[in-house]
Symmetry: D2
Subunit: 289 residues, 4 copies
């Protein structure tokens, strides 16, 4: 276990969700969304908040995979999704210079189809509460398999600390991913990752939240879209109260007119909805000291 200090910047690699590295070699057995870490953050104590700022998230090979070829029946109605066709390859070529992904052996109709790369990290986690040991396929207040396509270069992820040292892990890089991860995978690829860790004392939101240049984004993770959306909205309300001292009526006024939602992921053991608000729309409100 690598010990690092608040303020440290870590350069490391992640394998893909099948455990393959940048040379397509298996590095973990058995494979199953393996993570890099844990990193022990010196001084991080239960009740603190861990901040992980991603400086770089870069695919480190020229090929990605996308395993499933049908939309998950939990995401789509059954009658639309029963066909599962396997007559063409599931590997994609990543042109890292041009920043586009192209299916290797597309069908006739998709022969010109390509997509812009938007590399992201699917998993950022600390050790869960109550000394539980929970699979990296799952997600919760400790982060985990968040699969949120806005966790990119320049994003900071904030997680509650439950164990001394926080025990940070990262992994499950996607070259890009649609909302909801509705087929069960993004374009799965190994990554070069660089991130800076910090520890915030005396500030605590018992769920993950995220920040980039434009948005404050609070993650609601629960058993259904409804309860995940409620958790996200409640979390963003709590964040506004902590930062600006707003009461419930003021929160309602702000969010009614500014909130945006992302459906991050619907195919993992818990569902993930994000409530977000533009930072510039909050600028006229003076923050608490």
């Amino acid at each position: 276990m690598l010990h690092v200090f608040p303020g440290d910047t870590i350069r490391t690699k992640t394998v893909d969700s099948a455990g393959l590295d940048e040379h397509q070699k298996p590095r973990v057995l058995p494979a199953g969304n393996p993570q890099t870490g844990p990193f022990y953050i010196e001084g991080a104590m239960p009740g603190d908040t861990l901040a992980v700022h991603f400086n770089k998230i870069q695919p480190n090979r020229d090929s990605a995979t996308q395993y499933r070829d049908a939309i998950d029946p939990r995401a789509l109605q059954a009658r639309e999704t029963s066909t599962r066709v396997s007559d063409w390859s599931h590997t994609w070529t990543l042109d890292r210079a041009k920043g586009i992904a192209t299916p290797d052996q597309p069908s006739e109709r998709l022969k010109n189809f390509s997509i812009k790369l938007e590399p992201m990290i699917g998993c950022v986690s600390v050790a869960p509460f109550w000394k539980q040991a929970i699979s990296s396929s799952d997600l919760g207040p400790w982060g985990g398999n968040l699969d949120y396509n806005q966790i990119r270069e320049g994003t900071t992820v904030y997680l509650p600390v439950y164990q001394a040292g926080a025990l940070l892990t990262v992994g499950d890089g996607h070259a890009l991913q649609g909302d909801g991860e509705i087929t069960g995978q993004g374009l799965e690829v190994s990554m070069n990752v660089e991130f800076t860790v910090n520890v915030i004392q005396g500030e605590y939101l018992d769920q993950p939240w995220t920040e980039d240049a434009t948005y404050i984004m609070v993650s609601g993770v629960d058993g259904s879209l409804t309860t995940a959306m409620q958790a996200a909205t409640s979390g963003l309300a709590k964040w506004l109260t902590k930062r600006y001292g707003l009461n419930a009526a003021e929160v309602a006024t702000v969010l009614a007119n500014t909130v945006r939602y992302d459906i991050a992921e619907v195919v993992d053991p818990h569902v993930h909805v994000v409530a977000k608000v533009r930072k510039d729309s909050l600028q006229p409100i003076s923050a608490l000291k």
Copy 2:
């Protein structure tokens, strides 16, 4: 009932959801999300698709209202939302020249708070199937109280036609609205509206869909977020199949990597989720003739 022809452009007004016009005078009794119309579209027959293109959606007065002052308990967890504070006004001033809305008597913390206008139409409807008569607070395959903040100037709404003449109505303008309409209202205001109607024969998606310069957006309206998201995704899959002839595996490949979701509205009798895809990402695929 006004009879209009395909290709006609209609200039009209809508009252706000309380039935007040541009002079704040009540025009409908009893008030309850009253609509303008119906318009009988000559030649529109069951099985056709009605296209309503909004050229103008412009507030026609300088004041909007937002009735509720707490987040709806169906949208937020109970413990965050029980406070309902009424110590300040619910009217907003709309500066139409500058394009911003400002609360009339804000609390101290929100004294500098203002928001950019993004005028939208909450209700676009045709007469429902089976000769039902359904309240304009509800929504369904016939459109209705969609409350989707992307139905703005430049947007085209497509609705299935169930009755001869379609019987189009519009109303429930909002000067702006956050995702989900989580307090139950946008900034409610009367509008000057201009729209052009067209009828498409032999094309039929049994749910509303919408198009602007950037996106194709398909509406899923159902009893819960889960089933509404399924309906939206299924509808977008069907749209791709109709337009491009894609099979299920091709649809999965396209949507897994490109789909975005909006949570349009969660406080009306049915929930509304939108699945959307950028038009430029579909451009490499050749449409069916």
Copy 3:
């Protein structure tokens, strides 16, 4: 429209959900869950409660049908239900003397399979609020397609009155039906029905509730199982407060230890969950005068 008086007992017939009568003759065109009525109840006014006590619910022919042969994909996970087999008949013989139903041309494995008759009425409705006209496939506070297998002989159904005369209709008899109506139908059959109507003034629960010799049962009708269960529980809580004057803590004490739930129906446009409590467990509590 037949006018009847409070206290009157009505003997009538219902056709089955396909519109067939006791001679298997179609009586309604087009078929689609046709109802018997409406009955105008003299003196029933908006704000009153209509009580419909079923004295007799008896199949009036020897054959029932069950149309679908697979479990509805909304009720079951997709991978278990995709097979739809049609190689044997969907008619059942009702032995009314012995009180059992037997499939007419069963598969080898089900050749000895039979089920005890438990005749029920699927639809009991008044005219909805706001002068809406809503399909008899739907359900809501006005009753409608409740499909609750405990609405049998000896049961009283209570409905809010929204229009003068209430405009009662009944129909959609089932010789028997499992919980949830998970294949979309019970054993559909025409019925001889006898019921007594009464009007209760000054008592009003804005949702259907039901009573038999053993239970008080309150219906929650909403867009998902979660919200339907919440509506049923809230309704039963309100009922206890109206009848016994219990406060929230007393309601919680009683229901935590006594409530039972039935999943009445999950395949119609709204979902139906029932919260119920045994009358004998309430007996030690003195009712309000």
Copy 4:
């Protein structure tokens, strides 16, 4: 860790969910639904099924507690449940001879209120898959905090075995509990428990199921009522196929007309719905050898 053999009968005690034993003394620190065990079942291997038959479930003291005094906001609509009254005791006296529970300091209206004891075990668990360590507040395919009020004396619980020896634990006894455990607790009490364990080879349903003299009951545990009901129904369908060789159409015929659902629990980290069928209704079908 106690090693036991298939066929062994174990007599043991469980503490209550707060960790108090039959003398109201704390036996576990910190308290949090502590369990008795684990028991290592000799010969139980991954892929087997563990059968736990409860011969005795008997409260071993005369006092039970019920902590919360309001219905959980996840179970009831917010506006009905915001009042939380604490002006009377949460302890109950258990008259074990007469078999009734009575609140110790009831309010005036509930002064004669008492309820019949129906002792049950809330938690029956094996070690989860993938060597996870998961809190005993949670539930899943491994059993756990099932909180199903039909797990009583005479009931057999079947669980999939994931680890050598199965690692059985039991706990969380309730003197009685309503459906759904809607206030978050039953009447919590320590128990004398006696159960017999057996291992079934070559039979595997990847979720808990239960059997008593009357019913076969399959547990669906998931993130929402909808998906839990789907999991329960799918599981019961699979059980019928394993035991009787029924195809999908035969399963649909049987379940459409016979299935009953129980809402076991809605307040723990996962929701629990049970699909059940009477054994006598299956008797005419010949089981596979």
